[in-house]
């Protein structure tokens, strides 16, 4: 398994895309991972599920615009250079 840095960038883009397309009301709420189902206790240590939901929500919020730009660039580059 020989990795190049290019394959690392590809993996990162694909994984971030995968996390960003998880729709809030169509999918996450249906399986009990919605925004309102994560915040449990108000202690100083939220559980694993709350952390994961937080992570998904923050990736969606933060990376929405950069992902649009990066995906468009990838599409153009792949069309041009195969």
């Amino acid at each position: 398994m020989a990795f190049t840095l290019y394959s690392l960038i590809q993996t990162a883009i694909l994984c971030t895309n995968a996390i960003a397309v998880l729709h809030e009301e169509r999918f996450l709420s249906k399986i009990g991972w919605g925004v309102d189902q994560g915040v449990g206790g108000f202690g100083d240590d939220p559980g694993i599920k709350a952390q994961i939901l937080n992570l998904i929500r923050s990736v969606r919020t933060v990376m929405r615009v950069p992902l649009i730009i990066v995906n468009s660039a990838c599409i153009v580059l792949l069309l041009l250079f195969g």
């Binding site: 190049t4 840095l5 690392l8 100083d44 240590d45 939220p46 952390q51 994961i52």
Partner: protein, 308 residues
């Protein structure tokens, strides 16, 4: 009153290359003050002290001699101030991404530390005290504390591993420059993956440890020392030597990682023990053990193709 500063200035530069231009006292005053100001900024204005001898005064005097043109002097001053602005801006931008002081802490090593650390990496069973010592809330530099992580050994070990991989492939007549780059980027990608997985698991389990990203990079990079030892033994003693060295360095590295990370990840007695679930210490133990077990796997993966 103009003569007195002239005299003082001239008196101190007996060893100047040539006599300064006598014609323009205003020019003389300007460049001496700005020349000394430029020189005190150190070595960030390269090329302006053309042929400058060691002392600052003489540098100023030399510059006087080379540029009799006031426009060139003004341009030089402007260029040096522009260069300083650029330097400040670059420093500011870089320090937004990573704190350079924190990085400098990891490279503050000396020979004694490196030798002791290498010995601990290869034979950690006799090391007694694994606690990282602090000095008023800041961790001690690696120079003063053997247990502190550093980035010098991982960087050097990584580069040595790449060179050694090239040599091993050359011995087997399988060398080409692309393979070297491939080997280097594969190893780098594995480090990045491991650090990201560690960061993710530490975040998900809300382990409030003081392990920064650089600490994790350092602990990830220590396995390269074991890899170098393994590859060397494999090259020198053949396949049997390779497996013996692999077993030895795997055990040593696993012991080292577990002992080092146990202090940082597993909670101390006085931590938040408000009954936050008995699953927590177990999960933290799982993280530590999983990190330790991951090391031999990756060592085998990255070195087996070098020693056939």
């Amino acid at each position: 009153t103009m003569d007195l500063p002239h005299h003082g200035y001239r008196a101190t530069k007996q060893r100047a290359r040539a006599a300064p231009p006598q014609a323009d006292p205003v020019l003389f005053e300007d460049t001496s003050s700005s020349a000394s100001a430029m020189n005190t900024q150190g070595y960030y204005t390269p090329g302006y002290n053309m042929g400058a001898p060691s002392s600052d005064m003489q540098g100023g005097a030399g510059m006087d001699n080379l540029f009799a043109d006031p426009m060139a002097n003004a341009a030089m001053m402007y260029g040096s101030s522009l260069a300083n602005q650029g330097k400040d801006m670059v420093n500011k931008e870089i320090s937004r991404f990573m704190s350079v002081n924190k990085l400098k802490y990891f490279f503050a090593v000396d020979t004694r530390y490196v030798l002791k650390k290498l010995m601990i990496l290869m034979f950690p069973y006799t090391h007694q005290d694994w606690e990282v010592r602090y000095h008023r809330d800041t961790p001690l530099t690696p120079r003063q504390d053997v247990n502190a992580p550093d980035l010098y050994i991982p960087t050097m070990a990584f580069i040595t591993y790449i060179l050694l991989a090239g040599m091993a492939l050359g011995i087997q007549k399988r060398f080409s420059p692309e393979v070297l780059g491939l080997c280097a980027s594969t190893a780098l990608v594995w480090i990045i993956i491991e650090v990201l997985v560690m960061l993710l698991s530490l975040y998900l389990l809300t382990v409030h440890s003081d392990l920064s990203t650089f600490d994790l990079i350092a602990y990830s990079g220590y396995k390269y020392v074991g890899m170098i030892f393994t590859v060397l033994c494999g090259l020198l003693f053949g396949s049997d030597g390779y497996f013996v060295a692999l077993a030895w360095s795997s055990c040593a590295l696993m012991f080292f990682i577990v002992r080092s990370l146990k202090m940082k990840i597993l909670p101390s007695i006085s931590a938040d023990s408000m009954g936050t679930g008995s699953a927590k210490p177990q999960l933290r133990l799982y993280i530590t053990v999983a990190t330790a077990v991951f090391q031999p796997i990756i060592i085998y993966w990255l070195t087996s193709h070098l020693v056939r």
